[in-house]
């Protein structure tokens, strides 16, 4: 496989990235354009089932995920941004790999083939394949020592059913430190954000989120960077602490470093205004070339 071919992906946005967190979708698109990654959105994708389908009817969740897999071309990896969607799609695919009867039943149901060899990867994997050195060369600005907490939440944990799959712990640090950021890791950066309980039991999630943000403040961080749109939302709307920190989606910070032009537009949509921080660090305004390490 030549290197260019290996950077072709089909892309599953998932509901929160496509709507509630549109800014992470835009920034992801910018990143891919700037890096020359070829992303093809899955034609007519549907919800992966979200926590709710798996909570009340796992079979429905399985069918919903299987439909998405039946839409994915077998000749290129499927790239997923949301860690929860990634988990559901992988789990469904693994079950069909282990039991070809389940796969054939789904192929019959949708009238489309499902490749047993389909590779399902997180966005971080695309960057790893692209290469840290090339990424550094392509950067338009240095992150100027921006102190960030790489917040993984729970979803990049290994659920026992997927313990043999590839995970991306520490990749957020690797990438953003290479671009000039400073990682602050001694925090509650793997504590769950509260997931759907944010809608049903806000008080509970508020105390959890305040603990997480409080630990980041105590460790001297400027901001938190997450790979999950749901985490980003919960950390933003449920925090009641006096000192709050801006929460970025990983792709926003990456797009900023790569010199995307429309960052301002996304930052307006944040509930905790990140612009004073970015201005302070000299990260707003047009990038000055040649300041990359």
């Amino acid at each position: 496989m030549n290197p260019e071919e290996s950077l072709k992906f089909s892309y599953y946005p998932g509901c929160s990235v496509a709507t509630t967190a549109a800014e992470s979708n835009h920034s992801l698109m910018q990143v891919c354009r700037l890096l020359g990654l070829d992303l093809q959105e899955l034609e007519d994708w549907n919800c992966c089932g979200s926590s709710s389908a798996y909570s009340v009817d796992p079979e429905l969740g399985f069918n919903l995920s299987a439909r998405n897999l039946s839409l994915a071309p077998g000749d290129r990896p499927l790239l997923v941004m949301c860690p929860r969607c990634l988990h559901h799609l992988r789990h469904t695919h693994l079950e069909m790999q282990q039991d070809p009867r389940k796969r054939r039943a789904q192929e019959r149901r949708w009238g489309r083939p499902i490749s047993p060899d389909l590779e399902i990867v997180h966005f971080l994997e695309a960057l790893i394949r692209f290469g840290l050195d090339r990424l550094k060369k392509g950067a338009a600005r240095n992150l100027n020592g921006l102190k960030f907490v790489p917040y993984y939440g729970c979803t990049l944990f290994r659920p026992p059913a997927l313990r043999r799959q590839k995970y991306y712990q520490a990749e957020v640090e690797n990438i953003l430190t290479a671009l000039g950021g400073v990682a602050v890791t001694r925090t509650y950066n793997q504590r769950c954000c509260g997931s759907f309980l944010s809608a049903v039991k806000p008080e509970l999630v508020t105390s959890l989120v305040n603990d997480i943000i409080g630990s980041a403040v105590a460790a001297g961080a400027d901001c938190l960077v997450t790979t999950c749109a749901m985490c980003q939302l919960n950390l933003e709307v449920r925090c009641t602490a006096a000192k709050r920190l801006p929460i970025f989606h990983f792709s926003e910070i990456l797009a900023l470093a790569l010199g995307a032009k429309d960052c301002q537009g996304w930052f307006i949509r944040h509930l905790v205004n990140p612009r004073p921080l970015l201005k302070d660090r000299g990260l707003l305004g047009p990038p000055r070339l040649g300041q990359v390490p």
Binding site: C15, S16, A18, T19, T20, A21, A22, D44, W45, N46, C47, G49, S50, S51, S52, A53, Y54, S55, V56, D57, P58, L60, N63, L64, R67, R109, W110, G153, C154, T155, F157, R158, P159, P160, A161, R163, Q190, R191, C192, G194, S195, F196, L197, A199, V200, K201, P202, L204, L208, L233, V237, R238, I268, R269, H270, L271
Partner: protein
């Protein structure tokens, strides 16, 4: 940090003749979680971020299953509060898939029409399913509005809803799958949950 609740009613009398001796095997087969390996070290109760909102800590639920206390296990709130974050299983020395056990118990509770341990959480899930049924995708604004109206919680949380709206976090137009017949098919023979 979290304080673990004491296992509920430790002095309770267990009537051996009422225990369901097949329950553990059944849950184990459906969840493939290897729950018989659990030796009650209680690590999962320390790690779980939501243990305060549960009536039994995670290991307590596993104990109920191991003992065959079917009704108690299916009717507890814990199985609904669990968000499948896998914090517990990543710390469990026996690598037991605790979230899968919770998933299984939830499905069984619905199938057997057990009393639902937390109706509000189930109502939220059904709202999300409703959105998937109509659009093939989840429509956050619709879910929030309907959920808040249904549970009469609207005023309690109206602040967050407005803040999200003004920042356009919640889109006003639902995005929809085109081949809706494919989605509809999944819901056709579908049991409708009427929680007790």
């Amino acid at each position: 940090m979290n304080s673990q609740p004491m296992p509920a009613k430790t002095t309770e009398v267990i009537n051996i003749s009422e225990l369901d001796h097949h329950f553990a095997t059944e849950v184990d087969r459906r969840s493939q979680a290897d729950l018989k390996r659990c030796y009650q070290c209680r690590t999962c109760g320390n790690g779980c971020p939501f243990v305060e909102a549960m009536d039994y800590p995670p290991y307590g639920v596993i104990r109920l299953v191991q003992f065959g206390m079917r009704q108690k296990a299916l009717e507890c709130a814990t199985i609904w509060v669990c968000v499948s974050c896998h914090t517990c299983s990543s710390q469990c020395p026996n690598s037991i898939d605790i979230a899968a056990i919770m998933d299984t118990l939830r499905s069984m509770a619905l199938e057997e029409r057990a009393v639902i341990g937390n109706k509000e959480i189930l109502a939220f899930h059904l709202e999300v399913l409703h959105s998937i049924e109509r659009y093939g995708r989840t429509h956050k604004l619709g879910i929030m509005l309907r959920h808040k109206l249904l549970t009469g919680q609207w005023f309690k949380d109206v602040d967050v809803g407005l803040r999200m709206l003004t920042k356009r976090k919640l889109d006003l137009v639902a995005s929809k799958v085109r081949a809706m017949d494919e989605i509809n098919r999944l819901f056709l023979p579908y049991w409708r949950v009427k929680p007790r």
